[in-house]
Each structure stands twice: as structure tokens, then as C-alpha cells.
Subunit: 695 residues, 2 copies
């Protein structure tokens, strides 16, 4: 039975549902005139940012396109690779565009809905998040489905086995466009959002002594824009990339394992099934008035868990239908990925949420000042890497052996690949709960700026606070899925090389090119993080200067009789983000090629393995330390250790500020880096094989 | 020509010279009565610490000895392994004991000599450092020489080729005793020194407002003791271990490469040659009155460089004499290691010394507060990992190919092994310039406490400041040599497994046990660092409480009419260090065995490779960030960015405090961890092969 059809069906359901939800959201009232005005400013800023980003990204895409085209003319790659590079980038960009559109439309509406009831607020924000979630998976499925059917038709003259091998190996390279787009979105957005946030806080809260989200702060709109470009568009692009990479690499591994069309189709059909499950899951998300944080979280969880259970049940039949009986092992691999994703999310929450011991203990270290809370946060972050590593390790082990690794290496690796798809199968709803966060955050900001009153602010605060938890969980999930996806991609890279020249491979960890590759790969995420952190520092500095200038030169600003120039701050952030994202992006693109040309394919394999490991660990550490500092500060603000304004609070603010680029710029950007390195290596494998210094 | 004799000759020269220098040092006057009293307190504290440490370490050694004995009776290892485990630990402990004895005898004498002239102070402190340096290499050479000749005799019935193979594979395991000892010395000492330092500063400088090294501070003696137990004994044990590990693994690789006795002897003879070169080098260290920091550094460098050049020349002839003509490639490998060590030291200085741009730029980030200087320091540390990684990579590449790796894998690996020995060949003098630092630091403290006057204090400050630079360089060298040694040990581990069961090996980075091993190994240094940082935090907290108690309950203390109870702080630090070092130590010992029992030898190989990479990068980052923060603070204290007491200075103090456990506890302890993991894996290889879950 050709269940590939589940992929376009999933795409259709996702996109139609997203369209329906988007319509529903935009039909809601935007509230008072002031709210509409604020929301329009945020929208304007976000649009301006996106336009500018896409303009500069298009240039970059064309440049790479020309290089790929030249290489393809020279016979180093198929002509479809440069073309798919463009379509991948296009669809990924489109997903970001729609996601941001809906998020910036929903913020004021959420605040206004929260005026009615908590449930209305939650439903609206979650609907907006769902639009993002379903658009991402819908476009992801569409891209792959279109190419699959087109290539099936194009290569119809080839015998089936040869045809599917050809298609699998081609489509494996199709993730590169999405990866490029994701890198720019994540790094640029990450720099934008933290530059605005840090800049606004340093001058507004610290120097001028006005509260957060105060409309007199010239950087306040930029801060809100930042939530959207960083957390919505950036996160969406990140997971779009994982979603693409996991499926195409699992499919390629399935073909390599000798499972033929069935091996190719299963990951794609599984993704389609996941969309249907997520679709059902969204209907389980609702709450009642007066629900506390735990209850709110429970209502979001109900949706995610429902989707997970549906996939867990459906995947069993899917495996049998697609591969025929006797592939329970593959099913176990899918399950292990699904469970690993949930488990990593849970432990992320444990380490970063103030209702658990680690973050409470961290906030206690503020008693002896900012140095000890910094040391405490770094130690917490480092410690928190152990469990995710074990989860990934166990999941890989189970997938490999369950899928039959002890008798067939290739089958085992297919198990590892498909477990990544299992983890990402319910992405639509996972991403919905994640993208919900920034919408709620923005809604809170707008409620504050528009003076909506205590009760509404309380409700948006509850929604926002929940958003912080889902953001942390979502980050853990994003890192975990990036690591599994990167693993699948690395294995696929080796398979690709094996297809071209099996004699080139000597992947032993004691082979010096591999060893040196390991060293270089282990260092890359560190260098990359340093670059992005310094970029945030420089960009924030320019915002500080601008906000100070406006406070000084605009008469009546502090008294509230004159408006600040929001646009100039948005422009500054946009410019800085565009400028600063180039160098880290280049590092991701150039490293595999350069390492390959010197150390050969074995060196590249070492580099990929090591950068995935070190990137995974570093990203966990940075995200969790950042999340814990943030929540430790909130915990103190809630009245512990002296509360707001105390010495402890001051120390916690230092921790939170250090954590900002950790958790929102460098940490999540590493996810992209590790996948991009692998994808670039896959695409350039023939070039590396031909020209490398060390064979 | 049997040049193995260079090894005992080197041992004799080193030990005799050390004895001569020690005698010379202790003949110098200790200064005023007060100085003698202070010095005696420090000595007493250090002795008490050592006694306690050795007592608890002995128990641990006996425990492991029994386990090894049982395994040897059960046929899993040779009976010489448990015995050599004890001798290795004994010699390493002895080196630490002598080093600390001389350092604590020389501190007051250095201060008194500095009263005469800067040159006298430098010569005396350097002589004390030299005792440490020569004792470490002397005992290291002695241990190996005794075993070598004994085993030659013991196995005299075997034919030569078989005999040397047996000896090489046996002696490879002999590093474990030294590794164990080193771990305890480094971790315990690191916790002691930073607990005392942070505790003394937090209450003394920050709360009570008394200057550093003020005799009224009850923790001041503990702080001075800490310099000795952490920086002298810890650093010595660290490098003793590298020195052992590099030689025995290179020798084993030489035999594995089919070079027979010559391949075994060359690393040992090279080490002997290095001692002679270092001996000559020490005579080039002298300075004149009024020399500035640059000149002082130059005079220390003159000694190191002279030794380096002598080895570079001598090694050429040595290669020809030991291996016969036509082994220029091996010579190139030695050179590449020698140069890599110097280069890493240089770049460490570049990133951490305030006369260069990075640290100056870091101190400028203090203008916007402590959060930005923390971010800046972390970014600096992360960025600073790139060049050391490239240096190690290039050095490995050169050694491997120069030694003939392209035609013989085993010869290439021998090249990698011997380059580590090349790097460490001049260890005696490198370590002398390193151990000189804490002596000068202590001398400064004593000069302050004893009120020796402005001029003397200026001279000891100059010596101390130089000590900070050599400490940073020394740390870079220690990390670099640990990484190369660990690499050689990993390769030897694989060789050992290969000897027992070649079919067990599948070291491809895509083999799931290897992959998972990579993940676990990449995480271990992070977990280990978290443990040690938290240990420092807890230990410092107990000191804070005690110092506060004494300030409150001892009448007349603040007025200077009553003495504080120094001993109680020393006791507290000792107890905390002993307690807190257990868990991190266990992590290092248990991990390879546990990972091995689950994932098998391939998983262990992956874990070793990855922990070496991630440990190297993390240690570089932590040491360099810590060093840069320290010097940024000093740069501000020298009058930049507002000088002492300014807001910038306060921010810089936060950075420095965070940097303390980074650079003096966690960072350097990682060096030991990565070597210990490999050594334990080597010793337990037969057990792992027999019992692992996954084969």
C-alpha cells in the first residue's frame, strides 16, 4: 500500500487548518485604539525586519546558488540540488513569514480576549501558535511531497530500486536550503531580540528607573518585535530544518538498508500521521477561569500527550502497512524517539523551573552576591547536560538494536534515523505550545502599555509565565531533535561517501584525520557561541546609545507628553542583526568545506560527530543556565530572598542578563549550526572527495 | 647503542641537582622573627593538609589495590599492575611532598632575599621552583628506569622481541597510580585553595573592608597554604602524570610500530636528554635591579628557550643513535611537539595578559557592569579555544605524516606519541617557572603581613605579577600536553585491545556504541566541572561562616591586639577538600569501567576521544577566561577605567571571583580527568572485553 499519500494529505490538512485558524484569529477585535496602534507598530517593525532579512538572505542564496550551479555543471552534483536549495529556502522563509504575520496579529487580540476570560486568552494565543505549528509542518510536508512525486515522474524510466536510491540520495541534499534560511533566521533573530531586550533594560530599568514595557522606553517596541523575530520565526525555522533533515535522512537510510520504497516512505508517512494526530490534539487544549499555572500547563500538555498517544498507536499499524509484518523493531525505534523528546522536555523543565529544587537552590546563591549566582548557574547548566545526553544515548541504543543493528548495521542505523522522525512527528502541536509563548508575552506587554488594568494584566501574566515554561521545554525539545537529526545526517553523509568511493572511508577514531576532525568539531560550537555572544554585546551597546540619546534630546518624553522614536531602535536592531549574523553564518558554511579540503571525508566525519556532541552539550548548558537564571530572578521577584529591589534581586538580574544571550541567541543557534554542518558536508561530499589534500 | 641509560642518568642529575638547590635555599635566612612565624604557620598548615590527604588517599589506594589484585588473581591482569599502581602513586605523592616542602620553606626566604635585590628574590624563588621541577622529572625517570631494568631482568628468558612487547604493554598501565594521585592532588588542592581565597575575600575584603593578605583575616594563612597545595602540589602531580603517560604510551606505540627496543627506548632517552637540557637552561635565569615585568619574563624565557634549543639539537642525534639513520621524520615529530607546547603557551599569554588587546577589551566591558564583563569573559574564553585546537591539530598532523603515517599507520601513531614526549621533554624547567609563581605569591603575602616596607613589597609584587603570567602560560602548556598525552593513551588503549581481541574493534564514528560513547565523553568534563565548582562554593561558604564567627567572637581581633585562629580555617579547608574531592574522583575512575561494561571497548574508545576533545576545549576556555578576568581586574587596579574602588572595579571583582574556580579548580582538574579516563580504560581493557553487555 503506498502510504506516501499520507504526506500530501498531512500537508493539506495542516495548511487548511492553519488557514482556518488564522482567519478565526484575525476576526477577533484588536481592542482599544491604542492597542491597535501598538500592535501596528510591532507589526510594522517585524515586517521591516523580515523584508530586510529576506533581501540580504536572497543575495546570499543567489550567490550559493551560482556556486552550486557551477559545481553541477562541472559534474560534481545533480542539477536538482541547486534548484531544491532555492525551494527549501523559499518554503522555510515562507513558514517564518506566516508564523510572524499571525503572531504579530494575535498579540493585541490575545490581550483583549484575556479581558473577557483566561480561557479566551489561552485559546486565542494557542490558536496563533497553532497557525505557526501547522504552517511549518504543512510546508515541510508539501516541499517534500512535491519533489518526491516530481522525481518519481522524472526518473520513471529507471527501474524501481535504482529510482528510489537516486531519489533518496538526491532529496537528502534538499535540507540545505532550509538550513541556510534557518541559520539566518535563528542567528539574526537571536541577536535582534537580545540586543533590544538588553538595551531596553540597561537604560530603561537600570538607568532611568522606569518599569519594563513602559511605553516611554524607545526600545520597547523593538523588544516586542524581537520576541517575534527571535522566538517565533527563529524557532520555527530551526524546527522546520530538523523536520526536513530528519525525514530525508531517515528515508535515505531506509533505502540504504535495502528496504526499498517502503523504507523511504515510512518516515514521510509517519510525519503525515503525526499531523493528523496533532490536529486532533489541539482540540484538547482549553482551560477554565482561575486556573493556576499548573492547571494551564496541564491543559497544554493534554493536547501534546493526546497527539503523542495517537502517533504511538497509529505508528504500529503504519509500520506493518508500509513495511509488511515483522518490523516491530522499527516501531520500537519510533517510540523511543517519541518518548525521548518528551523526557528531554521534562528534564529541561526540572532544571529551569522555579517549582523544582535546582532553580530554587540557584536563587539562594544570590545571597552571597552576583559572582556566586553566576558560578551557580554555570554549574547548574553544566550539570543539566548529563541527563539529556543519557536520554539521547539510550534512545540511540534502543533504536539501533531494536531495528536489528546486531545483525544488520544498516537496519540499525535506519532505526536511529526513524527515531528522530518519531520524536518530531507531533511537531505541529509541540511548536504550537512553543510559539504560543511569545504571543502571550507580547500580549502582556501590550496590556501594560495600553493600561488595561490589574485583572487583565494578571491573566496575561499567567499566560506569559506559562509561556516561559513551554519555551524552556521547547528549547530542550529543539536541542534534542537537532542532535538526533544531526546524527541521522552524519550517518547519511557517510552513506553518501560510501556510494561514491567506499575506499575513501577510514572512520576509526584513532585515524589522525578523524582525530583532528574531532578536535576542530568540538571547538566550533564554542567559537560560534563566542561570536554570537559578542554580536549581542555590540548590538545592545548601539541600542543603549540610541535610547540614551532619545531620553536626552526628546523634550517631554519622560513626562509622557511626547512619543519616543520607536522606529529608530527597530532599525538599529535590524541593521545590527543583519550585519552581525554574517560571520557566524559563514563559519557554519565554510567549516565543513575547508576541513574537508584539508582533512578529507574522514576528517569531516570526525568534525561532524564531535560538533554534534559538543554542540548538544553546550546548547543544553547555555539554554538551561539561561532559563534557570531567568526563573531564579522571577522567583526572587515573587517575594523570596528579599524580593524585588533587594541585593539578592540585583544579583539575580546580573544572572538573568548573562543568561539572555545564552538561552535566546547562542544556545539555540547551535542547533542550527550542527545540522547545517552535516547538510553542507553531504552536498559537498563529491567536491571534497575530488579535491581534498589528505585522501 | 643502548641509550636507555640516559633515563637513569637524567634521574640522577635531576635528583642531585634538586637536592643541591634545596640545600642552598634552606640555608638562606628566613628574615624577621615574625616572618619565620608566618612561614611556620603556612608550613604547618600545608603539612597538616598533606598528611590528611595522604591518609585518605592511602585508604583509597589500598581499596583499588585489592580490586586490582583480585582481578590479577582472576587472570585479568598481570600481577605487576597492582604493584606498579602503588609505586606510581608513591613516587607521585613523593614529588608533591618535596615540592611543597621546598615551596613552603622558600616563601619567607624569598621575601627576605627581595629585600636585598630583585635578582636575589628572583633567583631564590626560581631555585625553589626548580627543586619542584627537577624532583618531578627525577622521580618520574627513576620510577620508569627501575621498572624497566627490573622487568628486563625478570623476563630475561623471553626472546628480545617478545620481551620488549611484554614490557611495553605492562608499563603502559603503570601510569594509573600517578593518575590517581594526581586527581586527588589537583582536585583536593584546587578546592582548598579557592575555598580559602574566595572565603577570605568575601568576608575580609568585601564585608570587613580590610586589605588582602591582612594578618587580621583568619583565612589568610589558609589562603597562603592553598597557593602551595593547589598550585605547587596540584600542578606538579598533573605534569608528573603527563610525563609518565606520554613516555609509556609513546614507548608502547614504538614497539607496536615494530621498532623494537629502539622504539621503546627513544622516548625514555629523549626525556633523559631533556633533563640535561633543562639543567643547563636554569643557569640562564638571572636579572638585574629595576627590571620591569617584560625583562623579568625575558630572563625566565631565556632559560626555557635555551633548554628547548638544546633538546631540538640533541634530539636529532638521539634519533639517529637510537633508531639508526633515516628516521628524520621521527625527529620532526619531536620538534613539532616541542614547538606546539611553546606556541600554546604563547597564545595563552596573548589571551590572558593585560598587555594584549583581548584582556584590555575585556576590562572595558566592565563599563556597563558585571553582567557584561561576565559575558565578555565567557566569550573570550570560548574564542581562545580555537588556536590551541588548531595547534594541536596541526602538530598531530605533522607528527603523523612526518613519522610515515601515509605508508604505515602504526609508525604515524608513534609519531603522535613521541611528539607528546617532545613537548614534555623540557618539563623540568617549564615546571620550575611555573612553581616559581606560588612561591613569589606567598613571598608577597608574607612581606605584606610582616610589614616589610614599600620597596620590598614592590619587588615581590613584580615577582608575583610575573608569576601570574607564567601560571597562565604554564596552564596552557599543562592543558596542551594533557591533550597530546591523552591522545597517545587512547591510541595505546586501542592497541592493547587489539592485542587481546582484534575482532572486538569497530571504531567507526558511525558505530552506535562509539557514537554514544562520544556523547557521554563529551558531557563528562562538563559534569566534572559542575561538581568541582559546586564543591568550591560549598567549601567557601563554610569558610565565610567561620571567618564571620571569629570576627564576632574574638575580642581585639580587628584592632590587631589579638591573633585570629588561623588553624581552624586551615582545618576547615582541609576537611572540605578531602570530602569534596571524592565524588569528582569517583566520576573519573568509574566512568570508563561503567561505560565499558555497557557499551564495550568501542564505546570506551568513543568516550575517551570525545572527553579528550571536550575536556581540552572546556579547560582552555575556563583557564583562559579565569586568567583574563584576573588580569582585567589588575589592569583596572592599575588605574584604568576608574581604578580601584570604582564601579568598573567592582564589576571586575565579580568577574575575577567567577574566574577563580574556573582557572584554579575546574579547568586544571580536567587535565587529569582526561588522562585518568584513558589510563583506567587501558588497565581495565581485559575486564571490559570479558564482561561488556555489547560486544
Amino acid at each position: 500500500m503506498d502510504l506516501m499519500i499520507l504526506s500530501p494529505i498531512g500537508a493539506a490538512v495542516a495548511l487548511i487548518y492553519a488557514y482556518y485558524l488564522a482567519n478565526k484569529v484575525t476576526k477577533q477585535p484588536e481592542g482599544t485604539e491604542q492597542m491597535a496602534k501598538i500592535s501596528a507598530s510591532i507589526r510594522l517593525g517585524a515586517d521591516a525586519y523580515l523584508k530586510r532579512e529576506y533581501t540580504s538572505v536572497v543575495k546570499f542564496f543567489l550567490l550559493v546558488f551560482v556556486v552550486l550551479l557551477a559545481l553541477s555543471v562541472a559534474g560534481f552534483m545533480d542539477i536538482f540540488i541547486p534548484i531544491s536549495f532555492l525551494t527549501g529556502g523559499f518554503f522555510s522563509g515562507l513558514a517564518g513569514f506566516f508564523g510572524m504575520k499571525i503572531a504579530t496579529s494575535a498579540n493585541a487580540r490575545t490581550a483583549w480576549a484575556a479581558k473577557k476570560s483566561l480561557n479566551d486568552g489561552l485559546r486565542l494565543a494557542f490558536s496563533a501558535g497553532s497557525v505557526m505549528g501547522f504552517v511549518v509542518v504543512g510546508l515541510g510536508l508539501l516541499d517534500v511531497s512535491l519533489w518526491y512525486y516530481f522525481l518519481q515522474y522524472w526518473f520513471r524510466a529507471l527501474p524501481e530500486a535504482e529510482r528510489i536510491t537516486k531519489i533518496a540520495s538526491l532529496m537528502l541534499t534538499f535540507g540545505m536550503g532550509a538550513s541556510f534560511m534557518a541559520l539566518f533566521a535563528r542567528v539574526g533573530g537571536g541577536i535582534f531580540t537580545k540586543a533590544a531586550d538588553v538595551g531596553a533594560d540597561l537604560v530603561g530599568k537600570v538607568e532611568a528607573g522606569i518599569p519594563e514595557d513602559d511605553p516611554r522606553n524607545p526600545a520597547v517596541i523593538a523588544d516586542n518585535v524581537g520576541d517575534n523575530v527571535g522566538d517565533v520565526a527563529g524557532m520555527g525555522a530551526d524546527l522546520y530544518e530538523s523536520y526536513m533533515g530528519a525525514r530525508v535522512s531517515a528515508s535515505a537510510l531506509g533505502v540504504a538498508a535495502g528496504l526499498g520504497v517502503g523504507g523511504f516512505v515510512l518516515p514521510m508517512a509517519l510525519a503525515g500521521l503525526g499531523v493528523l494526530a496533532a490536529f486532533v490534539g489541539t482540540f484538547f487544549v482549553r482551560t477554565e477561569e482561575g486556573a493556576d499555572q499548573k492547571k494551564l500547563l496541564g491543559s497544554l500538555r493534554k493536547g501534546t500527550y493526546t497527539a503523542g498517544i495517537l502517533v504511538a498507536v497509529g505508528a504500529y499499524f503504519l509500520c506493518n502497512l508500509v513495511l509488511g509484518a515483522g518490523h516491530t523493531g522499527i516501531y520500537v525505534a519510533i517510540l523511543s524517539g517519541l518518548i525521548a523528546g518528551i523526557a528531554i522536555g521534562y528534564f529541561t523543565e526540572y532544571y529551569t523551573d522555579s517549582s523544582y529544587k535546582p532553580t530554587q537552590a540557584l536563587s539562594a546563591t544570590s545571597e552571597t552576591g552576583s559572582a556566586t549566582i553566576i558560578i551557580g548557574g554555570l554549574a547548574l547548566g553544566m550539570k543539566s547536560t548529563a541527563i539529556p545526553v543519557l536520554i539521547v544515548g539510550i534512545s540511540v541504543l534502543i533504536s539501533y538494536y531494536a531495528a536489528g543493528g546486531s545483525s544488520s548495521f544498516a537496519m540499525g542505523l535506519y532505526g536511529v534515523g526513524i527515531s528522530a522522525v518519531g520524536m518530531l512527528s507531533t511537531l505541529a502541536i509541540t511548536l504550537a505550545t512553543d510559539a504560543y509563548g511569545p504571543v502571550a508575552d507580547n500580549a502582556g506587554g501590550i496590556a501594560e502599555m495600553a493600561g488595561l488594568g490589574e485583572e487583565v494584566r494578571e491573566r496575561t501574566d499567567a499566560l506569559d509565565s506559562l509561556g516561559n515554561t513551554t519555551a524552556a521545554t521547547g528549547k530542550g525539545f529543539a536541542i534534542g531533535s537537532a542532535a538526533l537529526t544531526a546524527l541521522a545526517l552524519i550517518i547519511s553523509f557517510v552513506d553518501q561517501v560510501n556510494l561514491i568511493d567506499p575506499t575513501a572511508l577510514n572512520l576509526s577514531v584513532t585515524n589522525p584525520p578523524v582525530l583532528i576532525g574531532l578536535f576542530v568539531g568540538g571547538m566550533l560550537p564554542f567559537l560560534f557561541s563566542a561570536m554570537t555572544m559578542e554580536a549581542v554585546g555590540r548590538a545592545a551597546q548601539s541600542i543603549v546609545v540610541e535610547v540614551r540619546r532619545q531620553f536626552k534630546t526628546i523634550p517631554g518624553l519622560m513626562e509622557g507628553t511626547a512619543d519616543p522614536d520607536y522606529k529608530s531602535c527597530v532599525d538599529l536592531c535590524t541593521k545590527s542583526a543583519q550585519k552581525e549574523m554574517i560571520l557566524p553564518a559563514l563559519l557554519g558554511v565554510v567549516s565543513p568545506v575547508l576541513v574537508g579540503l584539508v582533512l578529507g571525508v574522514n576528517g569531516v566525519a570526525g568534525m561532524l560527530a564531535s560538533s554534534t556532541v559538543s554542540g548538544f552539550v553546550l546548547a543544553c548548558m547555555m539554554s538551561n543556565a539561561g532559563g534557570a537564571w531567568d526563573n531564579a530572578k522571577k522567583y526572587i521577584e515573587a517575594g523570596n530572598h528579599g524580593g524585588k529591589g533587594s541585593e539578592c534581586h540585583k544579583a539575580a538580574v546580573v544572572g538573568d542578563t548573562v543568561g539572555d544571550p545564552f538561552k535566546d541567541t547562542s544556545g539555540p543557534s547551535i542547533n542550527i549550526l550542527i545540522k547545517l554542518l552535516s547538510v553542507v558536508a553531504i552536498v559537498f561530499a563529491p567536491v571534497i572527495l575530488a579535491f581534498s589534500l589528505i585522501k
